[in-house]
Symmetry: C2
């Protein structure tokens, strides 16, 4: 089964916003075992939208269209759909009732302008929108099922999951359940991950494999679609698929070994948080060059207040000495970017916050501040635990300040993760 | 003049990566006064790419293609270009020399596999790639100038600026200089900014206007293309354009007033940094719910070590009391999320770090932790200056933890920005 996506809107076409809808929908279709053929983006132009609709609906079985269902004069997708389907626009009473109901639930009257959103091609079947005013709908053009959804990302995603996915399954008479797993990897470039997993498709035909770089981690995703109709389930399709996915998982783990951060696909900060909870341990951070990024990452995880106690972002030497208790002579003798300073920072922050572990960073994120001995990209990372403390020096070669901060932060968390795994 | 963009690659088509290249190129073309007609994304498929190339080159004057110029078997864009142009593939010695030179500069020999990147349509003219191995090239198909660039974002951007933009100017015999300015706005929704600037196009015909939401700021961009040929310049075109842009700027400022963060388009953290430098002042931060995000934002600005001294990410009450010196009874009596606690946090962090200003946040970012009195989205922000301290309570209604952290952080920086403007 083949599909295309059409995203409409001047704001996407002119680059004012990124078209994140299309990539999200693409990945949903991929997981459902549907082959993507083309993504097209056009502006708020009736003829341009109708043209693309006609072309796409000749090529594929499913066309997903986002955007242009709002109440203003820019919103012309319904008219374009009617044009492509050689249909006329009529008022759909069920769609109108849905819009009125949406406003009623908010305690408001429906503004007159929103009535337009119920004016759809006469052959359209309505798809309910529970999170916004624009109803979705579907029509048939040529060989394709054409589905129209709003452009607001959270409205579109909700509608796809609750209305469109079941529709596709029913329309094409197949009901697939997707088994999908993720493994997150740190410390290998994407090309190397690719190389290590080279034999995957031969070993596991029918299991999809994909990579997503979430700098500096690589997420390895593998999945298969299982027919989940009743008679099939009783025959054990699901059990068989589960076994194959499990084998695939073990195969991937054997190839990537110690570079795996989480075999459940967690991010570095989620995995570190999970391990801290398991060990009933707490963490405090002393950040120089990472400037609060480690704390920000750790506290992005809901529930992090159970294990994250404190981070001291000590940019100045005075703060390192006065707040963390780093020895003044250590900084004078070695500089702020040094293993000894980093170790004392980790020890100091552990002590003042009474945490189980302290980690620290001191380095040069750039663009300025580097020299021959300690170029931009140099970082010293310290870690202090219940009965030890140590520090290591690393060199990275990124030129962007933000990338250096990020790789420094993730490297520090990786050091802690390995410690927690062994503890 | 009209243009289309074609982005190629399975990783984009299947949603593994967002197509940020296309939105960047779109905004570049918009600034150059070129009208965007369509963006199409296809996979690594010779026939699909050739098809789209043929269709696009019939519709518009310029077709920009990204991706598929690498050395592996997936990279088929050059072959597709030859197919669409009814041309043949030949080895281009000048392209080969460029690739060899790229490796030579790195101190390496060229691997054999990279030779393929010099195999291009016979009619292709080479565009130098100074930051990677894949040479760019251009050919004519139908009515269009078709330009092929690598898919790696930084290689593509560099090539566009140094090679493609000048090429377009020369090819179409016009040399335009773009006057472009930005104003950043905080505290108004995008729809309200739109409404306030409604009469812009009538007042300033010929000046483009665009918005970009960089949550929670809105960037208002206005620009015009000026013919910069010599005889025009001597006639004062540039001066005239500069005057109009200046008028447009004043008009926008009059409509957006106090919601303007920076009339030079700086981000909140850049503007706060700029003001701190001007005032020769320093800043320290006490973060609870923002969890290090304020420090991270401030230290993303190069040179921030001149004014940023310290941030204490005090998630636990103990850290607030022991490290910042917040009165224990204040927290027991009012809770951690309270104006009194926030004020004492700001005072405390200012004191221990000897900064000119201290700012603080204590709130509930969610998803858990809210109650009737203090729901998710509540934040108390404190500020302490040379001769005052105060705190305010705000309520936001975002449900995403990350969005709450971000709006809390930007609101705290906004409070400081207003203080610095008045000081």
């Amino acid at each position: 089964m083949k599909a295309e996506i059409i995203s409409t809107g001047n704001e996407v076409l002119t680059g004012a916003v990124n078209d994140t809808n299309s990539s999200w929908l693409s990945s949903m279709l991929l997981e459902a075992g549907i082959t993507m053929v083309r993504i097209t983006c056009v502006g708020d132009d009736v003829n341009a939208i109708a043209d693309v609709l006609e072309q796409s609906s000749e090529r594929v079985d499913i066309v997903l269209v986002t955007g242009g269902l709002g109440p203003t004069s820019d919103d012309v997708t319904a008219v374009a759909a009617a044009l492509a389907a050689k249909d006329e626009i009529v008022m759909h009473q069920d769609a109108l009732a849905g819009i009125k109901n949406y406003f009623k639930n908010k305690g408001w009257d429906m503004p007159g302008i929103n009535k337009k959103q119920a004016e759809l091609p006469s052959c359209a079947e309505i798809i309910e929108n529970t999170t916004g005013t624009a109803p979705g709908f579907y029509i048939e053009i040529e060989r394709a099922l054409c589905v129209f959804m709003p452009g607001v990302p959270f409205e579109m995603k909700k509608m796809f999951k609750t209305g469109v996915k079941p529709l596709i399954e029913e329309y094409f008479g197949h009901k697939e359940k997707i088994l999908s797993e993720k493994i997150s990897v740190f410390g290998l470039p994407e090309a190397e991950v690719n190389l290590r997993l080279k034999g995957f498709t031969d070993n596991f035909p029918g299991i999809g494999l994909g990579f997503r770089a979430i700098f500096p981690l690589i997420e390895v995703k593998f999945f298969c679609a299982v027919d989940s109709r009743e008679n099939c389930n009783s025959n054990g399709c699901m059990k068989k698929a589960n076994d194959v996915i499990k084998d695939a998982r073990n195969w991937i783990i054997s190839k990537l070994g110690r570079y795996i951060v989480s075999s459940a696909g967690l991010s570095m900060e989620e995995e570190v948080g999970r391990l801290l909870l398991v060990k009933k341990a707490t963490i405090a951070v002393a950040e120089s060059c990472t400037g609060g990024l480690i704390a920000d990452m750790l506290t992005n995880v809901p529930g992090s207040s159970h294990y994250f106690l404190f981070s001291g972002v000590t940019y100045s030497n005075d703060a390192k000495i006065n707040i963390l208790g780093v020895n003044k002579n250590t900084i004078i003798g070695n500089g702020a970017v040094h293993e000894n300073t980093a170790r004392q920072m980790a020890e100091g922050v552990k002590k003042i916050s009474k945490a189980t572990y302290g980690i620290s960073t001191s380095g040069i994120a750039g663009p300025g501040g580097g020299n021959c001995e300690k170029p931009v990209g140099t970082v010293c990372i310290g870690i202090a635990g219940p009965d030890f403390s140590m520090a290591k020096r690393y060199s990275f070669s990124f030129t962007e300040r933000y990338m250096n901060k990020k790789i420094f932060a993730v490297t520090a968390l990786e050091l802690l993760r390995r410690e927690l795994k062994m503890a």
